[in-house]
Structures are given as structure tokens and as C-alpha cells.
Symmetry: T
Subunit: 143 residues, 12 copies
């Protein structure tokens, strides 16, 4: 059974309580449950991690080879600032799909540049929690 | 039965023969067939148009209200240059999803800016023809 | 009796139904009626066209010489992207006045640059439908 | 009888003698006479001030509330440099119309940015002295 | 008894009536009263001036030496445009503290640059009227 | 006998009457006659089109394969704004030469960037109508 | 008794020994002692943390809700690079005050932009250790 | 006997006491004495004004025609911010020479742009008080 | 018999051996032979110089008047950096045509700006050695 | 015996398996062995750390004083994004040498700026693993 | 008797014949004669060189120490492009004055930046040949 | 015995006497002696040239093939301005190492860009004269 690594970037642990008018009232655990159902239906297992630590995210990605068949990542704030996460993805040898809850291109100027997009297979953004589900489908299709 | 308007922007009629090492050998009619199958499975009908004309694309979008429940668009070159298409989407009153075959953020600088992203519900890019299928799923989910 | 060419640029056919909180509920035909009344009062006749097609707008302007004494244009989205419309105005040999419903300088950055302003006699912006009426007065005064 | 405050910004006292090939030979007092005739015809009275002093212009605008029904201003050089005049207009609670004799968008780069446009009701530019007359009509219409 | 010069920059005379949803309903005289109480408590006297005139503000600062032990200034609009006020502060030989009612870094791009910050001892911004009180405390501490 | 597609971009139908002090008094039909003579002398036939429509130009280029051995294009205003024409040339599989009547690098800043140059075989600019003749020679030499 | 979270950002553990000619000889523990005295006098307790880890700072801020009534933060280097810390503050639901020892606007260009300022209640900078004390007073006043 | 208007811009009244390590210990009155001696030797008379007020400087320049044969100006801070002074010089009809005590091109970036240079006959900068004397010689030579 | 000065700019002596996959295996002497044949056929003589020295190129151009009827130049690297060569061409009083072997607009950003284009009669680029032959034809046509 | 701290920045643990066509097949442990041999030959001992954590790297550098005589660092991705690492180096009081395997100035634009270079003694880049050996020699020479 | 080195930069040998409507009909030898008269009157001797070669100008400046008491330079085109000439002046140990015939700040954008101004004692520009004479006076005064 | 070409760029002949507080008191001949000793120890011979002439440096590099096994260059000022030297290195077919005495990334903005770095094998900067010695070692290692 193939394994997929799901990475939730910084501050996503606050989902549900954080600016609910913007991000909705769905908590991260709700998204995770949905993702697991979808994974089960597609005969893959998920390993899900949330981390606020750029280094930890790099550690995870850097050691993904031979353990995971693909990576689904919402890099959150590190989308815009982390060359380290970008290099980890580029160098890890595992296909990666990038998702975002919100449409980052409608937000502040500094969010309108993704350092991550150039090194992933594809990007899905703006569909809320459904960005994750579509992202998982896209990743499964790539494998 | 709900109807979806699918718009293929400029030069997409060349798909399959145009730079196959970049865009693959799948022709536009093949993508359209797949989209129709997927639509049928989801009980919606599709109206599919390819146009190289910015004005024609605006005409279509501007008259979509009351005729279509949603719009799936690959704006191609107009992604980067057309305020007119952007305004048409923003003003048409119909939810719209943007897709791209390639990851535009790995290409020339002038392709790394989408005038369209800020006015659509969400964007899917980089998965080749699958960007369209995921986009249709995303649109169906929004309706 | 002198003739004036009035050109409504892209998406203005949606006026009234398009984002009424922004553009008001006045439809384009209402503005046209008002313009015709004002023209009649000033002993000129109007030829009014709305087009979403950059090329069509260029065709119209390019053939205006000897047919029209002046041009009143709301270039809408093409204000910001069309060197072709700019060149048509600069080369057509007919005096032109530019109008905008909204104050484009309070909107997105890409709307804060007019390619058209440098080639017209003058510009009126921000007064809603009244921008057109003032524009027609200004044009009459120039003739 | 409603009162309108007309403000002529810096160096406009030189009109007529200043670069006549650019600004024409009409003096400021000639424009003022025309404006007064037009005001009288429309049953409003005008209070007209020319000042080279940014602070004085702010003083005038800041104290306009309850004294004037509207402001007609040609901010001249302060168009491009004065956040103070902008803030005065934004904060004064009186509707304001901005006019320019010349088409500022055909001139030096530093003149192609108006700090004032985003805080006025509308702008009229490029029609010479007629910019003022059209501006007064526009202002009367707003009241 | 030490004397402090307090300078309120352009348009601050409108405080209370100017955009109350943004700036609150506290008038400038209320802030001045609070500042005087705080000064009395700290055994210093205040000389308070509001001016819309860049030159007048320069005059005041330029003659502060030997008359005042410190300057508390809210440069308002001149924060972003006045090299003259900057030079006056840099050259006057009296320690200066800069305050702002609002958080200028959340506002328009042109307000996100302070010409004044590099020449003052320190800056306090975003706390409304309390920015003044904290600024006075900071200044007293410097003396 | 080989066929060459010659495309005259927007507003070139005005040649001769449009700003003759800039563009000369030679009309487009005169250039076309010269081009045909030159083609005949070199044993190729020409298909010549003038269009103000970006979409029409894309249609023409997109269907050139197997019909034309080469394309000679003066993209005029679309030189600076059309990613669609660029993509059409890049994808059409037919060698293309770009010409300009005037030296675009001596004109406005927005004309000093060609979106088309990077996808053509070569560019000839600044020689007036002779740019076309030299361009045809260059294209013939490439075939 | 209300609790305040005080966060010292990266490299502040070096205070006192680090470039004393710039930052003075006061060590971080000295500032902390002063802050605790001031807190005690104002009947609040402090929880003080120094961390070089962006992720750890996000963890702390993200879990501050219901534990702390306010946050006093000197983001140091992360002021200029951390969207993650910005998002943590924006999403944590606890009022936050930003302080800086030095006047960042007199330093290198990359330090003249704060990603943090737009999401805090207010900012105090340039007063050395006193920035902290004034910041604590400002925070207490907000509670 | 010809008359020359000498204008000292903002903060120059502080000369001698203001940052003497930068500007030297020579006071403005010393420079004025030297200028008068030099003028007398050259049979012209001087009218010397120092002002911190942009408007006042515009008033002076605007009324110079028929009163003065030339203007010698050190615009100081207004060099970099005043379009109004620039327009006054361009419109006044009197030849003008610009001088600066310091080499503004070795100072902060915002001082490395002169709005005034493009409208004067010539500029002399970096020679301290001698910039004035050379400037007067240059002006005399122009008359 | 008219004489033409042909100038090959820096590093062109390496042609043939320098990056042959980019520049081809044709040596400079081969191009020169072809140019001479073409010149002979057109009854003009050529004086051909290759130089790596900016000053030498300026010397040549500066003394071309009365000696040469035209200049054909490939400025190579100096295209992008030499204001001196630009000024020499602008001031020499001899018509000049600019050629480039490669399409400079498809190369590094710093090569996408020609300082020379604005001062020549026209430019031909991207046709390899044929750029020279077309350039000579263009120059002959201008004489 | 003097001790040197060697820091390998983020993702360098992947060396050898990561994009071998770019970075070669040499693993980090191979470089470390070579460095230790070279150190032994020069009578210094090495403490070698690889970390993906910006904070950890700051911790290490911040505590290097009195423990290490010098630091040899390949900041990898943090070269371009970490003000925190820069401040740690600037404040730690230990001489530091920066090395890079690849020539960062031939790569993406965002890699062509080093935040670290301005605070180190010197930089060596582009020589692959040999950059480390040369860097160690340079550091030894500085001690 | 003190000696002064006078350097005329590239293309100044063309003075008089080069664009006389811009640069006047005065030849370089006329300026040199005037300079020598002025030098003689002031008891200094001049060594005058014109060169189009950046390297030659550097050679001259680099060997000026102990031979010349001062340098008067019109760097012409090298003003805007030569870091080498700048470094030569900064390193030569001889005071230098920069002059320009024209007002470079009214010309093309690339001429509005002087690399030389920051390393000279002062600059004189815009007075035609008189810039040289004033420059010599200024230099004599510095010695 | 292999031969190495060592090139010292412009103004390096001044070393020792030029700004000794910046560049030290070591003269160029001292560095050359050290380099020759190091070369002898490594069984290579050196050919050392210092030149202020961009063209001469291009001549040398262009003719290095078959004569030299490697090039060690300190391009000095030409680092930042010479596309010609860059092209010479790229085209000469001999491996090249770039060195700088000072850390150019701590100096003026225009020095923080190297046109040369992208075409050399590697770069060493900031170690003073030792940059040369390390550079020679690096070059020897490459051969």
C-alpha cells in the first residue's frame, strides 16, 4: 500500500479558530479526517504532520524518499519566504503537489509570489479545504 | 440539467501539434472527449468553445448568466494580458475556475503573473490535461 | 449636421447588472438615451457602438475620418492594455475625448495607468454616467 | 444660495505670461470671470483663491465645512507632491472636483501620478480653461 | 522647569470631525489637555502648536534650540513628503520623538515610508492618542 | 512555388494618411506592390493580410503550417502587448521574420520591449518600407 | 492576575556582549528584571521567552489564547523575513505590541520593512531598552 | 544697475550652528557678506532672502520678472521635493542658477535627484560656500 | 567609388572557435570575404576593422566623416554598455546601420537593451552572418 | 589546539543523492572526511554540524565565542533569506568564512543575493567540495 | 608653478562640428586656448589631454600624483558608465573637479546618473564652455 | 610546464599607495612576488599583466587559448561594467578564476553585481591579497 506524506505548514494548527470569517470554521482535524477517508477509498495511507518549523519541514521532506510515494503540502507562510523548503522539495526525489486554502493571488503583494510553485508538479489554490482533496486526487493520479 | 461553459483560450487549437515536447501529444479534441465523459458521469452538460479572440471570449462570458451554472476557463495567453477577460469574469455573475496545462510559475517572467486568478474561485495548474478534469470536479463541487 | 462616434469598450454591455453596488443600476441603453437627448439639444447626431473586440474598436476609429467630427470613448479595460487602440486614436485624424465611469485612480494598480490619455484631447473620470455627458459637452466645445 | 470654493494651486497666478505656447494667453482673471458668469447662471456664488502655499490650501480646505457646498481645485504642482492637500480633502467633509489645464499624462513622468485623484469625486483634465468650466458643471451636478 | 515643544502636523486640527470611524471622536484639544496633565505631573511645561505649513514647522524647529529641551512631533502628511522638516530636525540640536495616531504601515504604500524616522530618537505609532502620551514619557526619559 | 504569408498588424491600413511626417506618404498598397514584385523576382508567391484583430492574426498564424513556407510579420502595436501572437508564432512550426517601419527603440518606453522578438528568426527595424523588403530577403534566405 | 507573554526574537540572548557600541552593555536579563519590576507595579505577571527559532515563536503565539492577555514582542531579525510569525500574530486572537531596541529605519534597506507592523496594535522603536518598558505600558493600556 | 535675487532655501538660517562637522562654521550672514562684496565688484546689487516656506519661495520667483535680471538659488531640501518651485522657475522668465553647498550625489538616495536641475541654466555643487560665489559669477556671465 | 567602414566589436575575432554551437563555425575572415564580394557587386569599397577597444572604435567613428559614406557596425558587447560609442555615432555625421549575429532579445536580461539602436538608421539582428549582408544592403540603399 | 566550527546549512544532508547531475555524487560525509584530514594536517580540530533549522544554526553561532576560533559555513538556502543567521554571525565575535558548492551567481535571481556575504571575512564559491577546503585554508590563515 | 591636468573625455574632439545646434560651434581648441589664458592669469600651467580611451584616462589619473596639483575633468560618456575612472579618481590622491558642457539632468535617463560626482570635490554643469572656466576657478580655489 | 595568465584589472597599479586604510600597504609587486613563489612551488609558471584598458584585457584573454592553461583575474572595476570582458572569458576556452581583494558585497550598490561571476569556474573574495593565493590554488586544482 502506497504511503503519502501530508504536510500542513505554519499556523494551520489554528484552523477553525483563526479568523473564521476568512478561513471558515472547519478545524485541521476535520480536513485530516476527510483526507483519510479519501485516501482509504483510493487504497493509499497517509502520514499527516503539522509543523510551524521550517527546519522540521525540511527534515521531513529530505527523508521522504523510499518512505513515501508522494507529498501533499500546504506550505502556508513558507510559500513566500522559504528557499530551504523549496530546495528540499527539489532535491528529495519524491513528486509533490502544492495546495492553498485561499487564493493567494487576491491577497497582499508579498503573498502573490510562491517560491514553491516552480518545484512542484502542480498547484491547486482557492477552493478552501477542497484544495486538499483535489490535491490528493491529483497526486494519486501522478503516481 | 446544469450546463457548464468550457473556454479554451488562444492557440489551444494547436494542442498536440504545438511543441509536443512541452505540451504533449494529446489534442484538444481528446481533452474535450474526456471532459464530456466526466461531465456525463456527473450529470451536467458542457458547452465547449476554443477562441483566439479576446473580444469573443468576453462576449461569451458576458452572456453566460442564466445560461450556464459555471465557467471552466484556460485563458492561455490572455491570462497575462487581458484586463477585459478579467472584467468579464468579475462582472458576469457566474462562478469561474481557472486551469492551466503547464506550471506557469516555472516559465518566463511575464507568464508568472495572472490577471485572472484574483477574480476566479480557484486555480489549478501544472497537471497537464488533468488540470481540466480537476477543474471540472472543483467547479461541480462549488455549484 | 455633425456626427459624433461614441464607443463603449469591453464589458460595458453588462452595465446595470454588473456589480451594481459599484457601477450603479443604470443600463447602457439609459446612458445612450441621455446622450442622444443631449446631442439633439446640441444639433449633432450620434453613432453609438459597444464592442468587446479590440480589433473592431480599431477598425471603427481607423475609418472615422471624413465620417465623424469627433470621438467619445470609454475604453474600459483596453485603457490599460491596448497600444493598438492608442495608435488608432493617434493616427485617425479625428479629435477624441476619453471618459471613465469610475475613478480609475482609486482602483487596482494596473488600472492606474492609461495608455489612452496621452493621445486624447482630454479625459473625464469618476462622475459615473455623467462622465459621458460632460465628455460630450467637452467634445462639442472642441469642434 | 450655495457657495463653491475655487482653489487655484501654485504658479497659476502666472497664467497668460507663463510659457504662453503651452498654457495659452488667457490670464487667471479671465478664467475667473468666466467661472463667475457660469456660477451666476447656475445660481451659486464662488469664492476664488489662488495660493502658492501648501499650508494655506490645507487651511482653506480644512475650514470649508459648513461654509461651502463644494470645492473646485486645480492643485497644480501639489497634485504630485502633497499628501497634506490630499488628507485635507479626504478629511474635510465637502465634495471636491479636481481639474487640470493640461493633460498631465502627456508630460514628465513625475507628473503622471496624482496624489489627489483618489480622494476627489472626479477629475477633468486636458481641456485648457474649459477643464474648469466642465469641472464646475460636474460639481453643481453632484450637489 | 524644562519646556517641551509639541508639534501637530497638517490637518490634525480636524481631529474628531475628520473620518471619525478612522481617527475616533477625540478632538485635538482633548489630546492637548491630557498631554498638559501628564506634563504637569512630570514637572515640565508644554508649548503646543498645530500647523498645516511645512515652512512654519521648519521655523519652529529651527528656533527650538535654547528654548526647548525636547520636541514631540506628529508630522502627519509631512512624514512622507518633507525633506525640509527632516533637515530641520536633524539640524536643530534638540532631541525629537515622532508619534503617529494610526499604524502607518497598514495604510497606503506612500504612507509606509517615513522621511522623519531616521532623524529622531525613536518612534511610537498605532496607539491612537496614547501614542502622544507614550511619546511624551519617552521624551522625558531621554532628557 | 513556395508561398509566404505577409501579416500587417493593427492600424497599418492607415499608412500614408496616418501621421505622414512620421510614417511617410507611402500607402500600404504601395508596399504590397513592391513586395509582390520582389517575391515574383524570387519565385515565391505572397498572401498578404492586414488585420487589427489579435485573434484573427493568431488564427492566420495557427493555420499557416503546410500552407506557407514562411511568415513575414509587422506586429505593430501587438509587438508590445500580445502574448497570444507570440505563442501563435512559437507554436505554428513555420519560420517567421519580424519587421518594423520605425526604430521602436527610439520611441516611448512601452514600445522598447518586443514580446515577439524572442520567438522569431530575426528582426529588422527602422528602415521604413525597406524593412519589409529586407525582411522578405532574409526570410527567403532562411527557406 | 493577568499574564503577559514577552517574546525576545533571534540573537537577543547575545545582548550586552554583541556589538556593545551599537546595542549597549545592558544584558537581556537586565531588561527582563526591569520588565518584571514594571509588571509587578502594574499587577500583571510576565512569561518571558527568548528564542532563535521561528517555529518556536509561532508555537508560542499560536497557543497564547486563553493563557495570555497580551503579547509584547521584539521580533528582531524575523521582523523582516517571517510571514509565519506575522500570520501567527494575526491569527492568535491576542493583542500584540511590537518593540525594537534600535531605530530600524536608520539601518540597512532590508531592515526598513516590517512584516510585523501591519498586524500589531502599535509599534515602539529606537529607544533602546526603554522601547520594552514603553511597550509594556502601551500593552497594559490596551487591556 | 542690474539686480539679482538670491534665495536661500529651508534650514539654511541654521548654517554655522547646524552640524558644523558637515556644513562648516561659516554662518549664512558671512556668505551673504561675501556675495555682496562680489556683487559690488561686478556692479550688480543683490536682494537676499532666506525662507523655509515653499509657497513664499514660489511667490518670490513668480514676481521676479521685470524686477530681477537673474536668480541664484540654493533650493536645499526643496531640491528633492518641490515641483512647485520647479514650475515657478520654469515659468518666471528669469534665468536661474542652482547651487548646493554639499555634493548631493554623495548623500542619501533621496537627495540624489534634483527636480530643479532640469529647469535652470546650470548647477554648481559641492564647493561649500564657494558654490555660491561661482554661481554668482556664472549668473553674471549669462546676463 | 564610395567607401563603407565596417566595424566588428569586441571578441568577434574569436568567431568560429568561440562557442561554435552558438555562433557557428564561420570565421570572421569568411564573413569579411562575403562582405567584400557583396560590396564589389554593388560598386563600393569596404574598410574593415575588428577592435576590442571602446576608445579605438570611438576614434574610428569620430574620424569617419569625409572618409566614409556609411558605417556598418556590430557593436557586440559595447551594444549594452557604451555610451561613448553611442555618442560617437550620434555625433559623427555619417549614417550608421547596426547588426547582430544573434537575437539579443532571447538572451540574458542585460543584453536586451541596446544603447546603440536609438542613434542608428536601423537595426538587423538574429540572422547570423546574414545580418551583415542584409545590413550592407540596407546601408547601400540609404546612401 | 584550536577548534573550528563547520556548519552545513539546510538540505546539505542530501548531498550525493540530491540532483547528482548538479551537485555531484560526493556525499556530505566524504566532504567531512576530507575536511578533517586537512584540519589534522593543519593542527586544528573540527566540530561539524548539519542542520536544516535556522534557529539551531543561530544557537550554534551565538554560543561559539570562547569555544571556537573560527566558523566555516555553507549557509545554503539561508544565504538568501536569513537575516537571523546574518545577525548571529555579525554579533558572535568569531571570524567566519562563507562557502558555496555552486556558483550562486549563475542560478535563479533570488539566489544572486547573499545576506551573509556582508558580515563574513570572505566568500568562496563555485568550486564544488573544494570550496570547503579552500575556505578552511582561508580561515586558518585568518587566525 | 603648480600644474593642473585637464582631461576631455570621449568624443569631445568632435566639438564644434558635432551637433552644433546642441553643443555650439566652439571647437575644443578654442576652449583650450581660453583655459590656458585663464591659467596663465592665475599662475598655473595646464597639461591638456583629450582621449576616447577609458584605460588611457585611468592611466593619466593614476599617475597624476606628485605631477599635478589638481585635475579638471569632463568625463563625457564615461560619466555614466565608468567605475574604472571613478576608482582612478578616488585612488589617485589629487583633488578633482568635474564639469559638463550641457545640463545632463535634462537629457536621457541614462545620463541622469553620474558615477563620478561622488568622488570629486564638486561639479559644475550646464554652462557650456564656461563650465570649464568656472571649474578651473573652483579648482584653483581648492589648492 | 603549465603556464597561468594572471590579470590585474584597472587601478590595481595603485595598490599600496591607494587608500591604504582600505586596501592595505602591500604593493602589487609584493602580491606578484608571493604569487610567483606559490607558482614555483606548484611547478607552474605565471605571466602577470596589469592593465587599465578593457580592450587590452579582452585581447589578452582572447588569445590565451593554446598559450595558457588557466586564467586568474581580478577584474576590479570591470567586474561591474564590462560585458566585453565577460564575453572574452566565456569565449576563450580557458578555465578562469575570479578574485577580489575586498568583499564587494559590503560596498556600494553598483559593486554588488558581478558580470564576471557567471562565466568563471569560481570566485574568491574578501581575503585581501590572500584571495589571489587561494585563487591560484583553486585554479591549479582545476587543471
Amino acid at each position: 500500500m502506497k504511503k503519502i506524506l501530508v504536510i500542513h505548514g505554519p499556523n494551520l494548527q489554528l484552523l477553525g479558530s483563526r479568523e473564521p470569517q476568512v478561513y471558515g470554521t472547519l478545524a485541521l482535524k476535520d480536513i485530516n479526517s476527510q483526507l483519510k477517508l479519501l485516501a482509504a477509498k483510493n487504497k493509499v495511507s497517509l502520514s499527516i504532520v503539522q509543523s510551524n518549523h521550517e527546519g522540521e519541514i525540511c527534515d521531513l521532506i529530505g527523508s521522504a524518499k523510499n518512505k513515501f510515494a508522494g507529498i501533499l503540502i500546504n506550505p502556508a507562510a513558507y510559500t513566500h519566504t522559504s528557499v530551504a523548503v523549496r530546495d528540499a522539495i527539489a532535491g528529495c526525489g519524491v513528486p509533490c503537489v502544492e495546495v492553498h486554502l485561499s487564493n493567494i493571488y487576491t491577497r497582499e503583494a508579498f503573498r502573490q509570489k510562491s517560491l514553491i510553485s516552480p518545484v512542484v508538479k502542480g498547484t491547486i489554490l482557492g477552493f478552501g479545504a477542497k484544495s486538499y482533496y483535489l490535491g490528493l486526487l491529483a497526486l494519486l493520479d501522478l503516481l
